[in-house]
């Protein structure tokens, strides 16, 4: 079989890779995204704080500062184009004493240099009016009205689906292990499989250094895996915080936060601990204790009994402290997007434009795609039943009675939603893929009730036996054989 050959190949389907695919899909080019995992958002993009940072954290003059502020400004446009939940809820950094106040003033000054608009230092009474549940010991706060929240994996799905709809090929379980360059084109291998590309974007997150080594390049810094653990609280607690609330940062970073999520839950975390393995997304008892303590400093009365799930993500922290986005010094037309730690999500729209500019400068000619489709699929952005208005619900049920069959009662997910997710441009083939696309199993019973039904629907739609349905990957079968 002839090897498939592309203008651009992107390695990694995290937010950096998928957002880049989304930007390039506007042009008339042949593009592929290669992903080691079974799904989009298999790395850091899956589990993070989901904050669209305003841009006052990053040191002035860094690439991070530039791209964060710009990315934050672009977020509203992209999310409304693709129907992604995004809320400009604003953020608060609270301070407890005079030293914190000094720090907040510094952050404000830095933010203003970076171009963040609307920053303001609040008094205690202003703060308590905005967030009545915050610690009574808080004395000041830095308010950033432009900060927001977004669902990170949904954003990645949305841009990935849009690019797939516009002709981008996605390869999953394609773990790049070798790259050859003949001076003109790259051949990229995953075991026996291979594809060719004129241009390559390395967006492999924590593994960007390993990809660089495959072309004998050495990034001028190390990528240290730093894990952050989280607790997610039930929607019953959803109103205890209206803004993303941080404490004043210290040398360890931004620290533990309490924030609403776009789906109406409360997220608490993360800590920041260096781990041995880049794949270590386990949670620890000590870690959960640590974030519980941190959360109580912000909000002493927070109800941590209402936790419905815990999870962890690993940051690709570069020892250099800044994003590294440039053409390889070893090989032409090979662009690294490495060290994309926080605020990599907030910055992603700007990071991807920056990558597109580098590709242009490398000589890639870009002509606008004719028939460009603006939405996720040719049928629009595919609202979920729970997102629909009453009129839309009636209409959806009239067109397809499966939208009247409730599967996940906690999150109001219907059979129609699930079948749609299974058949969208990037197919959902596992329980977890369906879960992250539809929220089935993400509510307070965590799938205790609907997981079997979801498994049945997947089995039926894919034409497989229910015992072959996986939770997330090749060896994660849900069931082990028939009963006697």
């Amino acid at each position: 079989m002839a090897i498939k050959s592309y203008d651009v190949v992107i390695i990694g389907a995290g937010i950096t890779g998928t957002m880049t695919a989304f930007q390039i899909a506007k042009y008339n080019l042949k593009v592929a995204v290669l992903e080691a995992g079974i799904d989009v958002a298999s790395g850091s993009t899956r589990a993070n704080s989901a904050i669209v940072h305003a841009g006052y954290d990053a040191k002035e003059g860094t690439l991070k500062a530039l791209l964060n502020v710009k990315g934050c400004e672009m977020m509203e446009g992209i999310t409304s184009q693709l129907g992604v939940h995004y809320k400009k809820c604003g953020s608060l950094v609270i301070g407890f004493n005079a030293r914190d106040l000094e720090e907040l003033k510094k952050l404000k000054a830095r933010g203003e240099i970076n171009g963040v608009k609307g920053l303001r230092i609040l008094s205690r009474s202003e703060l308590l009016k905005m967030e009545p549940n915050v610690s009574r010991d808080a004395k000041h706060a830095l308010y950033a009205p432009s900060a927001g929240i977004v669902c990170p994996y949904d954003l990645a799905y949305a841009v990935a689906e849009n690019s797939a709809t516009n002709g981008t090929d996605y390869y999953f379980e394609f773990k790049v292990d070798k790259i050859d360059y003949d001076g003109k084109a790259y051949t990229i291998y995953a075991g026996e499989e291979k594809v060719k590309a004129k241009y390559v974007v390395n967006a492999a997150g924590c593994y960007a250094d390993e990809i660089a080594k495959m072309i004998d390049d050495d990034l001028p810094f190390e990528i240290i895996p730093r894990r952050g653990e989280y607790m997610l609280l039930d929607k019953s607690e959803g109103k205890v915080a209206k803004h993303t609330i941080f404490v004043t940062p210290n040398e360890k970073g931004k620290g533990i936060l309490v924030s609403p999520t776009v789906d109406g839950n409360i997220i608490v975390g993360p800590n920041a601990n260096i781990v041995d393995s880049k794949a270590d997304t386990s949670v620890t008892e000590d870690g959960l204790d640590e974030i519980a303590k941190g959360a109580r400093i912000i909000m002493p009365g927070i109800n941590l009994n209402a936790v419905i799930t815990t999870f962890a993500g690993v940051r690709p922290t570069p020892t250099s402290g800044d994003f590294y986005i440039r053409e390889s010094e070893k090989c032409k037309n090979f662009i690294h997007a490495a060290g994309i730690e926080s605020p990599g999500l907030a910055s992603a729209p700007a990071v991807s434009e920056y990558i597109v500019d580098i590709l242009k400068n490398c000589g890639l000619s870009m002509r606008k795609r004719k028939n460009y489709i603006e939405t996720r699929t040719i049928n629009g952005n595919c609202k979920l039943f729970y997102e629909m208005t009453e009129r839309e619900r009636k209409e959806a049920i009239k067109n397809d009675p499966k939208y009247a069959k409730m599967i996940c009662r906690c999150e109001m997910v219907t059979e129609g939603d699930i079948i749609n997710a299974i058949n969208r441009p990037i197919k959902a083939k596992t329980i977890d893929m369906v879960k992250r696309r539809t929220r089935a199993g993400m509510g307070r019973c965590q799938g205790a009730h609907c997981r079997t039904k979801v498994a049945e629907i997947i089995a039926r739609e894919l034409g497989i036996d229910i015992s072959e349905v996986k939770k997330f990957s090749s060896n994660s079968n849900l069931l082990l054989g028939k009963t006697k």
Binding site: T281, L288, F311, A404, R451
Partner: protein, 341 residues
């Protein structure tokens, strides 16, 4: 559409309410039972074990009740999910056969049962692989789908269902390595330990808990620790135990999202709706019964309560029918003792 009485849920409490309502003079054609699942009977359908009423299995009891209700001519709709309930008792209902519908009722009984909590397992450290599931889900896989959720299982919890599922797994040939309970006494009757665990030599450990889960894709092992008086793990007692599944049962809460969204007052302790002596909630004409009201100890108590609920609904409807003499609410502050067991 208009109905005199709409009953949400067709578990034992919903079905008994329907029967009792007819007995108390509400015409069967004026009653509608709505059930979200494809079959009537609620949780009973997955209970193939003995011990319901005299000595019926759950499925037998369900089929007896269903037959009785159908014989009376009460309409029972399956695959009909109530999305919401308004303060003037208009229900929004979806079903594949009837589409999107509004139903106005003179009285409503919420008999939606309960759902499993997942809370207790969440503070366990480690990975999040396949093979960690609730006891209710395990029971459904085995009894309804006919599949084994695991063959070497550790069970957390000492509720009835934790023990019954342990036995069921053992009968199907799985090895139940141990059942652990973090508290110092079992939640279920001691009799269940004798009936379910002993015959299969399943160990039961009080003051023990799972403290860590191992396994990247499918669960591979867990750590089990003894707990001290404060419930903290005693590190030196830690034992790593290989398994391919972890079944947990952390109790139940009333399934009353509809009630919460309707703005009903919810009790802090039971997590179910606040009720007056006649089982009416804080929304006039809306009643609650069974496990949706609070978690009952056993089925007998549920059936008894449902009879009384339906009787007071019948009274309520009679009063509402007599013009002028509007429903005089009973003392709000007076909560039925029985509610609190």
């Amino acid at each position: 559409m208009n109905k005199k009485l709409v009953i949400i849920g067709s578990g034992p409490s919903g079905l008994v309410c329907a029967m009792t309502a007819v007995k108390n003079g509400i015409s069967a054609s004026n009653i509608l039972v709505l059930e979200r699942e494809g079959e009537l009977g609620g949780t009973l359908n997955q209970c193939i074990h003995n011990g319901f009423l005299k000595n019926l299995t759950g499925t037998e009891l369900a089929s007896n009740l269903i037959k009785a209700v159908k014989k009376l001519g009460v309409e029972c709709r399956t695959e009909s999910c109530v999305l919401s309930l308004s303060a003037d008792r208009v229900l929004t209902v979806i079903s594949p056969s009837q589409g999107y519908q509004k139903i106005k009722a003179d009285a409503v009984i919420i008999a939606t049962g309960c759902r499993e909590q997942s809370r207790g397992v969440l503070s366990i450290g480690g990975t999040r692989p396949a093979g960690v599931l609730s006891a209710g889900a395990a029971q459904r896989y085995i009894n309804i789908e006919g599949y084994m959720p695991g063959k070497k299982t550790v069970v957390i919890g000492s509720t009835d269902i934790a023990f019954i599922v342990s036995r069921r797994l053992a009968i199907e040939g799985a090895k139940v390595i141990t059942v652990v309970e973090p508290k110092s006494a079992p939640l279920s009757d001691k009799k269940n330990i004798k009936d379910c665990l002993r015959p299969f030599n399943i160990p039961f450990q009080l003051n023990h808990n799972v403290t860590k889960i191992y396994g990247k894709e499918r669960i591979e092992a867990v750590d089990i620790c003894q707990l001290d008086k404060k419930g903290k793990p005693i590190k030196k007692t830690k034992q790593k135990i290989e398994c391919d599944s972890l079944v947990y049962s952390c109790g139940y809460t009333p399934d009353v999202d509809i009630a919460i969204e309707a703005g009903m007052r919810i009790k802090r302790d039971t997590k179910g709706p606040f009720t007056k002596r006649n089982y009416e909630t804080t929304i006039p004409g809306v009643f609650v019964t069974g496990n949706a009201h609070y978690i009952h100890k056993n089925i007998d108590k549920i059936l008894k309560e449902s009879v009384v609920t339906a009787e007071s609904v019948a009274k309520f409807l009679q009063k509402a029918n007599q013009p002028k003499k509007e429903k005089k609410n009973e003392d709000n502050a007076h909560i039925d003792r029985k509610n609190q067991e």
